[in-house]
Amino acid sequence: MRSIAFWYFVDMGVTHYDEMRDAKGALREHYRAFADWLEATPPRRISEKRREADLLFHRVGITFAVYGDQAGAERLIPFDTIPRIIPKAEWDALAKGLTQRVKALNRFLHDIYHTREILKAGAIPADQVLTHPAYQVAMLGLDLPFGVYSNISGIDLVRHNDGKWYVLEDNLRTPSGVSYMIENRRMMMRLFPELFSRQHVHPVDHYPVLLLNTLRSIAPANARDPTVVVHTPGPFNSAYFEHAFLAQQMGIELVEGSDLHVKDGYAYMKTTAGRQRVDVIYRRVDDIFLDPLAFRADSLLGVPGLLSVYRAGRVALANGIGTGVGDDKSIYPYVPDMIRFYLGEEPLLGNVPTWQCRKPKDLAYVLEHLPELVVKEVQGSGGYGMLVGPAASKREIEQFRTRLQAAPADYIAQPTLSLSTCPTFVGKTGVASRHVDLRPFVLSGREVNIVPGGLTRVALKEGSLVVNSSQGGGTKDTWVVD
């Protein structure tokens, strides 16, 4: 999960939007059925069920950092049994905004590998795109099915204390977490079936079917009954569980680089009955490891020659190569402009206001307001090289100021957001407010599909806004209800 670690906002006496209750403490209507149930159910039964959930997750093996230590012990991402509920009307508006955003991002990716209209128009500085480390010259002039580069997109959303949704980050490379969305729902239905008879919760279980349809829709034209595989870096990858889970749910092979090879212009996998042609690869391997002949020569995860087959249109990759230009923090501020540029529409989903320190005016503002802002490294991943103004000491701020002034183009700054909260079980029987975000998954192929819901991550520590799974973050089931 490339992006989860960006969650360092500070919780400092600001007000939060609560998903369950309004500012006066009154229950929001879409939570009523659940709240009635919660009140009528003895706390002992709920805590028993929570223990049962832990056991079940262990048995099924829904774990992360699967192999981590030689201990063979695997860690669970804590699962909270209070769902995060979204009314259908609100979801529909979100889904529209997500579809619009992902369409524009795909148009952008197509454009920058073709005629570069948006750069010619000056809407985005050309050097920011063309010198971007994720920009792949190998993709120049290549036409992808339906012009779609990011077939599977995970868009991270947060709700601010104005009650509005904001996009925090786009994930267009190999976003993960969808297996938790599905397993969390199955777990809730198994533990509390009575909840689902009280109100209609829109299903998410058909995600693997939609995913397989999406992948089949981008198969080369001459593949009549296309063979689709999931390509994993292997059991040592922290998302291996998800790769295996999705392959199993779609009923297709889970392959590693060594299972695939290129011969006579096609991609094949080695099976006990000889070699078999592969038409679509849902790859969960990063661009630079995909083909040692084209990218990193020391990659053992990839398939030599795969890029040439891809460029010849004889195998499809999902996601396409070179999508990383569209999803990092230096390009993020331009997404609203992309929507206007390509679609001629106003963005339905807002960005978090962002100051680009490469611009002198923005830099001046940021330097003046360091104690209030969150400053992030553009290329950074995982919270290194980041300043959380309100939580930093004077000395830390001054040290950061020096670094920022030395290379302003490497940084952006954002106001400290106030994430919305959702009631969450704490301790044995207590319930308290904890911060949440939401990652819906957008599938793009012949058509665009979004299952109603996504992965809700929750910061389990009081006041914490870190929903990262390795730092005390958990997950919740996400309900879209009528």
Binding site: R59, V60, G61, V66, Y67, A71, G72, A73, G234, P235, A244, F245, A247, Q248, E253, L254, V255, E256, S258, D259, M269, K270, T271, T272, A273, G274
Partner: protein, 312 residues
């Protein structure tokens, strides 16, 4: 099925079976050392080292050859690739990689076995605890085989698991026979000569066949009958003939493309075992016969790897 997946399932099953057989070999060695004279004691201790080719590795680290050092070397030594520890660890790692192609019960059995073994203290496996430990290893292997048989879909995963189990068992039965001749009859012309009742009964027990021998022959233990039981007796589940019956069955079910050479060899070995006569084998020499079997099994493994497992 992906060749890599078949390979992991094949070796997962082989490693479990090999760990069980290692426990059997150590059990019989312990008994032989208890009953034997000083001279045969040392031969008994050397036997597991020579049959695995690990004598050099052992003496590089240990000056003395005694029972408890030998058992530690073959039970818990992580640096010994043939130790029960290493074998069950590899079995678990193979299973981990294909846990979505096997049943959760199979995975849980191997994972639990590994977790328990990892916590075993060296003191547990030597002295009075040794037999309990060997019995535990055997029981975990029985459990794994039973769980596999009882839960997995009859498809290629099942076929390759069975293939691995019985190929390994055949290999081990041959090695046990080989070891026994190595101890007792270092020269070929001595075959059929003097024998030690305890040694033969220990050998029969190591393949769970002491009672079987009694039931089938109602006789005192003589080498030719022991050899017949271990090589040709189809009703004895650890005999070569029984193992190859299962190997051929598994291979018949596997849908291959370039596997003619492998299937032919398996069928040939099986046919030879079906129509062999133990008196003839004794005339030409059991040791030679056993050596030829070992060579056949190695060749068959190579052909299986080439035909199915992606080894070039």
């Amino acid at each position: 099925m992906l060749s890599r997946v078949a390979d992991r399932i094949f070796w997962m099953s082989r490693h479990v079976e090999r760990a069980e057989n290692m426990a059997r070999v150590l059990g019989v060695t312990s008994n032989l050392v208890l009953y034997g004279s000083k001279e045969t004691q040392e031969q008994s201790l050397l036997a597991p080292l020579s049959s695995t080719g690990l004598a050099d590795a052992y003496f590089a680290r240990h000056r003395k050859l005694d029972l408890s050092t030998l058992i530690r070397f073959f039970a818990l030594d992580e640096r010994n690739p043939f130790s029960i520890y290493s074998l069950l660890k590899q079995a678990r790692e193979n299973a981990h990689e294909v846990r979505w192609q096997i049943t959760s019960e199979m995975w849980e059995t191997l994972n639990t076995t590994w977790l328990e073994l990892r916590n075993a203290r060296p003191g547990r496996v030597t002295g009075a605890g040794a037999n309990d430990f060997f019995e535990w290893v055997k029981a975990r292997s029985h459990l794994f085989r039973g769980v596999t048989y009882g839960t997995i879909l009859r498809s290629e995963a099942y076929n390759f698991s069975r293939l691995g189990t019985f190929l390994e068992r055949a290999d081990n039965t041959v090695r046990i026979l080989d070891t026994k001749y190595y101890i007792l009859l270092p020269r070929v012309e001595d075959i059929g000569g003097a024998l030690d009742y305890y040694q033969w009964s220990a050998l029969l027990r190591s393949v769970s066949s002491y009672e079987t021998y009694r039931a089938l022959y109602r006789d005192q233990i003589v080498p030719i009958r022991v050899a017949e039981l271990l090589i040709l007796e189809r009703r004895m589940p650890r005999s070569l003939a029984a193992c190859f019956e299962q190997i051929v069955l598994a291979m018949d079910r596997i849908q291959g493309q370039h596997d003619h050479a492998a299937k032919r060899l398996a069928a040939e070995i099986s046919a030879r075992l079906t129509y062999s006569d133990i008196e003839e084998i004794f005339e030409t020499g059991v040791h030679e016969y056993v050596d030829a079997c070992l060579a056949d099994i190695n060749e068959l493994t190579l052909r299986i790897q080439r035909a199915y497992l992606g080894v070039v």
